[in-house]
Symmetry: none
Subunit: 192 residues, 4 copies
DNA sequence: AAATAAACGAGACGGTACGTCCCGTCTTAGA
DNA sequence: TCTAAGACGGGACGTACCGTCTCGTTTATTT
């Protein structure tokens, strides 16, 4: 007598194969062109196995995001001493990553996934605006005396990332000068 | 002698029927559930007529946006005297509009459309951040002496709208308090 | 060790439903008005299921023919003792069957199908001229001493059926007298 | 004041262009692939002009047939002295013509057209079995004493042409030997 | 060990929508 | 008033995926 179930357990190999296949296809063709059948074939897994563990392609993408398979670490702003300069540089890099993919996908694809699926939205928010990266960098700026001690870093991070997303959506090229203006508008000019 | 082409001219009735049908279905069921066939039926128009003039559903939605059939005027921030209070109220209203639709669609749907289609992205950017509304309201704030004369209103508008989009994507409920914090973070505290 | 493939097996129910629906629609509206979509609906089967197993409507019709779902047995010439009289009667019957359908279809429809699809052509040839019926009846005529022992029954059957087809194509009404002349021309006059 | 109608009369150029285009496309791609739009483009004529004068593609094909634009004169059996040999040779030639086209079309295409359109059927019957050619040749055979004076040439011609059509439909290759057997079966062996 | 049962690959199934082709009718401008 | 050009509503095409459902095989428990 026991609560243990009988039979084989979930295959880790299948789970990983699905996530890897998804990340691969996502990067290559974008969220829209991602299909359950395509993932199944790419992962050499049956559709049933996918549907057994994930309810939708959005859920798989959310898991990929959670495991850091989609947006690479290089998406964390660097720390070279100057908050403003670091953020300006980071913005350029983010767009660079975005444009690496076919067309210009990646960031837009993630946005599409987020618009389609609440989980992805949550994770996107966390990944970009919360879980460290931007907020941490701003905190370091405060510590270094480059920002006011009471700067509302949560809101600033949100606004900064939001502006980035808006630009990605509107396909405005991200010139350094415009990035600089944005950062200055949010953080104020460099103190004397 | 003439460059005029021969034959019947594009049917304005069909054009309008398609845009109206699209706006109707978009509002009712969201961008994802919007289909070319559905539009054709709703508009009592043949699919071929749609494909003759628009390459994709994204393009139709972009035209709707351009003609103001999707985001109603109520999306322009009001002018009751106080920039900050007006913007806070407006944010709530925007999310209210969004949630009016089935599920919680509208804004998210527009974002999905934008992620899917460059034209929609452009128009979204213009409609929300540029063509007046927010920027105009900020300018009025400067005129009223509530904002610094040299406030970078273009960038601030972009950041504000961006933050809104990010929140819509992450499905964070928009409590007034949080809206207030965001506005204060961007515009600075009310001057004495 | 096994060559058995895995997974579900072809649904016999679907196969039969398609053939029955095809036979029904074919008889009712003719080959030209037969459509893949119509068959799918009538058979309550998805189009994909049809295309999975048949490349074209011609192929489905060929299968119907093979299973005797289109040209009923009554198409075999009877044996009432006199070859010539039996064939004359049979010709009238064939045209009668043909005219039962809307317009005057059936035989013409089969011809259209045959012109359209090699398989149908083969089967039509076999069904009418070879696989028994006419040839068998001629053989009985030889056995009964009503035809010369060395009569070239294969060729005669072919010519007889061919003449029928030609008449069907040219929509000449099939009067008994003309049928009699045809039979006499091919089999020679009744021996004394 | 007069009964003459006003305005331009039917354009002979357009009429001929349509028939020529039809014959060209028919020979090149067969009856099934023939389309009204294709004819209009090929003939540099508007669809309306076609529909003004012909009710269907079948009717156009019938007109082509009537003007001898589809089945060339070479389809008349030659006269080299021996009816039987001439007919055997002619059968081979007919199939040769048929197979000249892409796939194997021509004769089959004509049959398809006949099955589709009563007029074409009539004309086909006349062109092949009546209006001379085969019947005339048989008459010459009678005159030459190679056939019985009372041979039922109308019926024999019909049977002969019918057998040809049946073979075309069933895609049986037409070997000379088999053609010879057919001719002998119909005309009887060469008299001593 | 045997029995049991879940997970797996493969893939057939009823559906929905796609984007294209042609139908036959119609509207417009030019000759 | 006939014509070329071509837009229109409609219907069918053949394809791609959806999410569900068998199959037969493989594997891990539990008797």
């Amino acid at each position: 007598m026991s609560a243990h179930r009988q039979g084989p357990v979930r295959s880790e190999a299948a789970r990983v194969a699905v996530l890897e296949a998804t990340a691969r296809l996502f990067a290559a063709r974008g969220y829209d062109h991602l299909t359950m059948e395509g993932i199944a074939v790419e992962a050499s897994v049956s559709k049933q196995t996918i549907y057994r563990w994930w309810p939708s392609k959005g859920a798989i993408v959310a898991d990929c995001l959670l495991e850091g398979r989609l947006l690479v670490d290089s998406l964390a702003p660097p720390d070279n001493g100057d908050v403003r300069a670091d953020l300006v540089g980071w913005i350029g890099e983010v767009f660079g990553v975005a444009e690496r993919a076919v067309g210009e996908t990646l960031l837009q694809s993630v946005i599409a996934a987020a618009a389609d699926n609440p989980d992805v939205g949550q994770r996107l928010h966390d990944a970009l605006a919360v879980e460290g990266s931007v907020i941490d960098r701003l905190q370091l700026g405060i510590d270094a005396g480059q920002l006011a001690a009471d700067a509302p870093i949560d809101e600033l991070a949100e606004a900064l990332v939001g502006a980035l997303i808006l630009r990605a959506l509107s396909r405005k090229p991200a010139e350094p000068e415009s990035a600089r203006r944005l950062v200055n508008a949010l953080l104020g000019p460099t103190p004397a």
